[in-house]
């Protein structure tokens, strides 16, 4: 507790409450006795507090919110400069330019997202080529030559080579994540979800925005590149990982990057799109980027727009939706164009998405099958809940115990090695050799001869050694006899647990495709059982049950609803199965929500992000603003001495400060008595003011402020230390008039406002601050996102309670 030690030293010095310069009238009226009493009282309270802290606040409870997350800043600071800007003659032109550029940026987002997605796909393709044509074919044939006449086994050398290759690729992915760009790990969807909820994820944003401007670009490019290369490596390295989630994240990163008009790769500021360099505009472009990412990954533009709507946007408008759809279309168009060129059919735009599930030829289903689909939904809900429970426990374990860098790297290697090994073990254990030609859909590239007689191939191997997307396709579309029951059971179980183990290690990896694959396996199994139960009904195609199972498993894990329905329908290019898919997902969500929340939400909770859900906590109507707010507000007066501002900037990390007409010592409490709320000013704005020396004493008040001063963002100046400003002692003795620069009418609520009301304000308006005032507009406290988010509803014994979470400071 360094702060306690600091307290002592400071209280031993001159009386800290007195300032002969700013409080001239007051200081002299204060009696010495009062001062002494106040000082003693404060010391007693500190002692009490530190005891409390020692007793109860050091717990290992994981239910906490981390203090390192900040809100994004969506509000325009409507100061005098902002109003004056509208009077300029060029303003009309600016308005026109902004709306034109929005479309242009959306176009660019689509194109670049498509490029990234195509890049990832092509990398995976080449990696597959190397693996299959070189390792498998070459080594196996070499093996069978060597093996002739000897008794020594040789196949396991193939296995070692295969595992080794996987490990090398996964090492690349893991190193990129662990040592280069930590945020690139995982699927990225939780991060996007938080960002769109209005939270600056430190690694995303601090990496992206809070560093010095040049570093910013490199780091952001780093994230994107690490993500793209990393995901290609982890998918190529045979992990149970999908490339779809990372593609969505890449799309969002592209959206954030392109809209800023700076070239991150070259470290060049093109000076384009300056009007978009704020959180408000960037949020829109990030959601467009996420939509474009989904569109590129699944060939599902509508699903992409719905994804952004469902997972992200608390804020919505029609124009934005239309622009997002435009981005999404452009991105799937770009992917098609590139892939058609790559596959030698230039200009063929009807290329299917990267993760298309193939078109069902037999689309029949009957009304009597609906209950079966509902049953699949129930199974999916239970399995998904189980998956989430186990994965959450595992992630907690990892967070606590596997935290060193090399530990995490080693874990990745272990997962890679065991994933590869299990595939071989399964082929070794299940003797599922079938003569070549048994499955007419199997192409020669899928043939794996391992441990089979000449002229036979292993049917299990074709599931394990294909790309996951191809396995999904063969589970959906192969004839009924292609996969045996044992094969499906073993494959399903293995894939379930491998996915469980894989999701959360430090490589870029999505959960979409693995969940779909697991679900397709047990769904197909379900279909086979249905076919055996009702042998008289012909035409039961296990493929459609595989599809329903895939939807159920994925829905049970991520708990997405409409966007998932749209994505699956678009990926199968068919609306016929719309009803069953929707029913399955609906039941799945109901069943799953009885047990726990979706995987992404669990991970967000584990990361202790103060996210605001769709609805305020139940049973919170009687929690009022004076309980929610924090009373110890660092406020400014309208005219402040520079030295105090510097001190405040130096010792706090707050991003904005309320401005009141006066601050007086309260004779009754340790907190000061704040005057009327006049406005608030951002930290970055103060910084700019100090940097440009807009002080009263000097005649330099005409010094040029940046045009977009009212948009002042945290971006560039945040990490610039105060020392860089080079303020002299003379500067510090100057006065600063804040009034023209502050936002004059911040949102405020009275003391008796209820928590649900505050919650809706925050959620609906994307607020960062909410000031609490009494009846006379005297400032009484401030509410921030963490103050609202720390109240969580819990369900115990069939009753709702509201719990207050801890805030963790690390």
């Amino acid at each position: 507790m360094t702060s306690r030690g600091r307290v002592r030293t400071s209280s031993n010095s001159l009386d800290p409450n007195e300032d002969p310069v700013s409080g001239l009238e007051r200081v002299f009226s204060n009696s010495n006795l009062e001062q002494v009493a106040r000082q003693r009282r404060r010391q007693e309270e500190q002692l009490l507090f530190s005891r409390q802290l020692a007793e109860s606040d050091r717990t290992d409870s994981h239910e906490a919110l981390s203090a390192r997350y900040e809100s994004l800043n969506y509000e325009v600071s409507e100061n005098r400069l902002y109003r004056d800007a509208e009077k300029k003659p060029s303003h009309q032109l600016t308005l026109w330019r902004i709306s034109r550029n929005r479309w242009f940026v959306c176009f660019l987002i689509g194109v670049f997202t498509g490029l990234v997605a195509a890049f990832i796909d092509i990398m995976v393709h080449y990696s597959k080529d190397v693996k299959f044509s070189w390792i498998l074919k070459y080594l196996i044939s070499k093996c069978s030559e060597e093996q002739r006449g000897t008794t020594a086994g040789c196949m396991w050398t193939v296995m070692i080579a295969w595992i080794g290759y996987n490990c090398v690729l996964v090492t690349i992915a893991a190193v990129l994540v662990i040592f280069v760009a930590p945020i690139a790990g995982g699927s990225g969807i939780p991060q996007i979800k938080c960002y769109l909820n209005g939270i600056a994820i430190p690694e995303v944003r601090s990496a992206l925005n809070h560093f010095i401007s040049i570093v910013v670009k490199v780091v952001r490019l780093k994230t994107l590149v690490s993500k793209a290369i990393g995901v290609a490596c982890s998918v190529g390295g045979g992990l149970c990982a999908g490339k779809e989630g990372p593609m969505i994240h890449s799309g969002a990163a592209v959206g954030a990057g392109v809209s800023q008009g700076k070239s991150y790769s070259l470290g060049i500021d093109f000076g384009l799109f300056k009007e978009f360099r704020n959180d408000r505009e960037r949020r829109d472009f990030v959601s467009a980027g996420a939509a474009a990412g989904v569109a590129a990954a699944f060939g599902a533009p509508i699903g992409g727009v719905l994804f952004s709507l469902e997972e992200g946007a608390s804020f919505w408008n029609q124009n934005l939706t239309w622009r997002m759809f435009f981005s999404a279309m452009i991105s799937s168009f770009t992917v098609n164009l590139i892939l058609s060129w790559f596959n030698g059919k230039s200009g063929w735009l009807s290329w299917t998405g990267l993760a298309n599930f193939g078109v069902f030829e037999n689309k029949d289903y009957n009304i009597w099958e609906i209950p079966l689909f509902l049953l699949i939904g129930v199974i999916g809900g239970c399995l998904g809940a189980l998956f989430n429970y186990l994965n959450t426990r595992l992630t907690e374990f990892r967070k606590k115990y596997v935290s060193s860098k090399f530990g995490r790297l080693f874990e990745c290697l272990l997962v890679a090695a065991i994933s590869g090994f299990l595939a071989f073990l399964t082929i070794f254990a299940i003797d599922d050799c079938q003569p070549i030609g048994a499955n007419p859909t199997a192409t020669s590239t899928q043939i794996n001869q391992m441990w089979c007689k000449k002229g036979e191939y292993s049917a299990v191997a074709s599931l394990f050694f294909q790309n996951p997307e191809e396995s999904v396709k063969s589970l959906f579309h192969s004839p009924i006899n292609s996969f045996g029951v044992t094969t499906l059971i073993i494959f399903g179980i293995e894939y379930f647990f491998l996915t469980l183990w894989t999701f959360g290690i430090s490589v870029p990896s999505g959960v979409f495709i693995p969940a779909i694959l697991t679900g397709a396996a047990w769904g197909r199994l379900f279909g086979i059982f249905v076919e055996r139960l009702f042998p008289s009904v012909t035409g039961i195609d296990p493929g459609k049950y595989a599809l329903a199972g895939a939807a159920a498993q994925l829905g049970g894990v991520v708990r997405m609803t409409i966007s998932l329905t749209a994505i699956i329908m678009e990926a199968t290019k068919d609306i016929t199965f719309g009803l069953p898919i929707m029913l399955v997902l609906m039941v799945t969500k109901w069943v799953g929500d009885m047990f726990n929340e979706g995987l992404y939400d669990s991970h967000i909770d584990l990361a202790e992000v103060p996210i605001l859900g769709w609805n305020p906590p139940k049973m919170s109507r009687n929690i009022l603003a004076d309980r929610v707010m924090r009373k110890d507000v660092v406020a400014l007066e309208r005219r402040e001495r520079v030295s105090r501002i510097v001190e405040i900037l130096r010792s706090t990390l707050h991003h904005g400060f309320p401005v009141v007409d006066r601050i007086e010592e309260s004779p009754y409490e340790s907190l000061p008595d704040y005057g009327r709320l006049k406005g608030y000013i951002l930290r970055s704005q103060l910084f700019k003011l100090l940097e440009n020396r807009i002080f009263e004493e000097e005649e330099s008040s005409s010094a040029v402020l940046p045009n977009d001063f009212y948009e002042c963002q945290d971006d560039d100046d945040q990490m610039k230390s105060l020392a860089d400003l080079g303020l002299t002692q003379y500067d510090e003795s100057c006065w600063l008039d804040i009034e023209p620069y502050m936002h004059p009418h911040p949102h405020r609520v009275p003391l008796n406002t209820s928590l649900p009301f505050i919650f809706r304000l925050f959620r609906g308006l994307g607020l960062r601050y909410l000031f609490v005032v009494n009846d006379d507009n005297h400032l009484r406290g401030v509410i921030t996102r963490k103050d609202v988010a720390r109240f969580r509803e819990r369900r115990r014994n069939h009753e709702y309670h509201v719990d207050e979470l801890y805030i963790s400071e690390s």
């Binding site: 600091r6 409450n17 500190q46 290992d60 044939s141 296995m159 935290s403 924090r630 990390l653």
Partner: protein
């Protein structure tokens, strides 16, 4: 044919009540009511070529070996199809060319449907181009076929192997003693090299992407494998047990590593304690430096003193 038949019937019903039904295998050519009469003979000729091709395909359907057996019929059929498509000098009674009559679909065009089926469903689906290259020269009726290199090589190796087998079965391939196990094992030993070569070549092509054999070769090879493996039981058992040791070692190593890794992490890690704060308890007591910041009154001297001595440590704060 049904169309013209029904047309005749209609005509017959309307005008010629006494007409008798004609033999439907030979539609009449000189019916003045049939505008397309002059083209009829070409259609009939095409029908002959089509049916020859169909017959050949059906004859060679178990196992499917169309490419190597029906290429003559196919070339003839394609040749005549080409000619019917270029009947620009022959006109029907209403002055359309016969090509138009035959191929501009009226309601249905059986001839072109059948032609398409023969081309795509039979010839292309059998991947015949992988085995036979046909240098089409339709205008001059000089199309030439040529077996591809890999098919020929395959054929040679197949013949070598078959010769070998025939030698050791004293000429009679279809005698019962082929199924005799002893005789079978003799074949296995003697002709193993030939079989290995045949199979090796086939497998190399088979597993190379973008290089295929046609269905003929594949079925031939599948049957050969079947004969060799299942009938004569020559197949080498792929003994899984040979790899058992290697797999077990790998398995043990990986399990051990996993267990050790997690056990070690569990024993070592988890020591982090965090500073957890309950905001509702903070309400009344701003601490230390923060309380100084709250009020507007601060001593300049004190300020500079602290700024000099203290590093920039983020203190307790919430926003």
């Amino acid at each position: 044919m049904t169309i013209s038949l029904s047309r005749i019937l209609l005509v017959g019903v309307l005008f010629l009540p006494s007409i008798t039904l004609l033999n439907d295998s030979a539609p009449f050519n000189d019916d003045p009511w049939d505008l397309d009469g002059p083209c009829q003979k070409y259609v009939e000729k095409l029908a002959v070529f089509q049916s020859e091709m169909v017959a050949c395909a059906t004859n060679w359907s178990i196992p499917p070996k169309v490419c190597t057996n029906c290429y003559d019929n196919y070339i003839k059929f394609k040749q005549y199809e080409y000619e019917t498509k270029h009947l620009d000098n022959v006109f029907s009674l209403d002055n359309r060319t016969c090509s138009q009559v035959i191929y501009d679909n009226y309601l249905l065009s059986y001839s072109s449907d059948i032609s398409t089926a023969l081309t795509t469903k039979i010839w292309e689906k059998s991947r015949c181009d992988s085995c036979i290259t046909i240098n089409w020269d339709l205008p001059h009726n000089k199309s030439e076929k040529e077996f591809t290199e890999r098919t020929l090589v395959f054929q040679n190796r197949l013949y070598e192997w078959r010769n070998c087998v025939v030698n050791y079965t004293s000429g009679g391939l279809l005698v019962d003693d082929l199924n005799d196990l002893q005789n079978g094992s003799k074949i296995c030993n003697e002709c193993k090299t030939q079989f290995e070569e045949l199979y090796g070549y086939y497998w190399k092509i088979y597993t190379t992407p973008d290089v295929d054999f046609c269905v003929d070769v594949e079925t031939t090879m599948n049957d050969t494998i079947h004969l060799w493996d299942d009938v004569w039981k020559c197949a080498e058992k792929q003994d899984r047990n040979r790899d058992l040791a290697g797999i077990m070692i790998t398995f043990a190593t990986l399990v051990l590593l996993t267990a050790l890794f997690y056990a070690a992490s569990y024993i070592q890690g988890g020591g982090q304690t965090r500073n957890l704060i309950r905001y509702s308890r903070l309400q009344e007591d701003p601490r230390g430096q923060r309380s100084r910041l709250l009020s507007s009154g601060m001593s300049d001297a004190d300020l500079f003193h602290r700024a000099a001595t203290m590093p920039n440590v983020p203190i307790h704060q919430s926003r």
